[in-house]
Symmetry: C7
Amino acid sequence: MAEQKRPFDVLNESKGKNILVELKNGKTISGKLIAFDPHINISMENAKEVSQSGETVREVGKLFIRGDMIISISPGE
Amino acid sequence: MAEQKRPFDVLNESKGKNILVELKNGKTISGKLIAFDPHINISMENAKEVSQSGETVREVGKLFIRGDMIISISPGE
Amino acid sequence: MAEQKRPFDVLNESKGKNILVELKNGKTISGKLIAFDPHINISMENAKEVSQSGETVREVGKLFIRGDMIISISPGE
Amino acid sequence: MAEQKRPFDVLNESKGKNILVELKNGKTISGKLIAFDPHINISMENAKEVSQSGETVREVGKLFIRGDMIISISPGE
Amino acid sequence: MAEQKRPFDVLNESKGKNILVELKNGKTISGKLIAFDPHINISMENAKEVSQSGETVREVGKLFIRGDMIISISPGE
Amino acid sequence: MAEQKRPFDVLNESKGKNILVELKNGKTISGKLIAFDPHINISMENAKEVSQSGETVREVGKLFIRGDMIISISPGE
Amino acid sequence: MAEQKRPFDVLNESKGKNILVELKNGKTISGKLIAFDPHINISMENAKEVSQSGETVREVGKLFIRGDMIISISPGE
């Protein structure tokens, strides 16, 4: 029997890897996903704000993002 | 006796198939629906942002979308 | 003794019939109501976006709408 | 001992009578209150959108309004 | 031992008295507080919309206001 | 063992003292904190709206503020 | 077996240290994190509003921030 897939699978697979996070204020954050919880609160390392074209706007480092600000999360390269 | 229909039926039928997702920030995402949960958090594969006329604006690939950003989901062609 | 009326009665009576759905983004969707749940998540068939004057703007077909986007639902003709 | 009054009393007294409903999108709906629930979801009959000066803008008929769109409800004449 | 004070005390003391209610849409309502519940849903009598300078803009009468629209409530004169 | 600190400590220490409250509508309220609850609903006495530079814009007196309108609370001088 | 990481770890590690808090109204607060709770309500000491370039705009001192106003928290230097 096939295992039931869940939306959080893509976040679990991305732990320790680079992700792109789109925020509701129009900003995009790139960095390594360290942890997430059911509210989609996340913590990242080597986080940086990036422009639409992928260039670094601002270096942040460790970062906690409140889940309700997040639009989407995609695995980065 | 007729089986009770639920709104999530249309999402269950769309698993593994293409969907169009309208977001509250005005963007439209096209791609394959992998999973969803009761908050309408969804995960997709081959996701891409598309314009009103259906042209690809940006390739994304795997994508997690937070449910509270979603307006509507329709099965794609 | 009179039966207690509930707001969802008008939605139950509309199952399988045409409804007009007003959304918080200013759009109006017309189509057949298939199902709804207590969050007012709904699924529709033959859904189409219509203008204020009732003309079809866009054909959608099957559609899932997240309840928190809905302003109002009225039985259509 | 005086009976404890509750905010919903004014809605219970208005069942089957005309009410004016102010919505968060700036619109005002007039019509007969049929039912409400604890989320202030309401159903109406003979609903119509009215202008500030009370003139009918649009006839709606039966209407379900999601509670989170409602600012206020007042008994009509 | 001193009795524990609660924010709702000021609302309980205002029952049957005039209050000023500031709403999130920028409007101010003056009138007699009849009842409130834990969501700050309130019912009023002799309610009227007033301008910043305290002049009556519109007579309303009995009024139910949904709690999530309320910014603040102050006892009136 | 050190006692666990909680965010509400700063509010408990401020009871009966002057606080500055920043609201989501851009206004700042100064006055004595009387009580608060877990939703950050608060009641104040001698409340007044103050400008950025600290000048009184409007005297209010007793005031109930709904918690979801509050950005921050700081002890005043 | 590796210990499960949680998003709140970065906040726990920052207790008693400087943090940068981005708020939904576009402001940035710098200061020492004293405490936080599961809603991300936080209390700070030596808090000050800072500009994009890190200059102090306004000294605040002790500060309580309601969690739903917070976008992100990063450890400061």
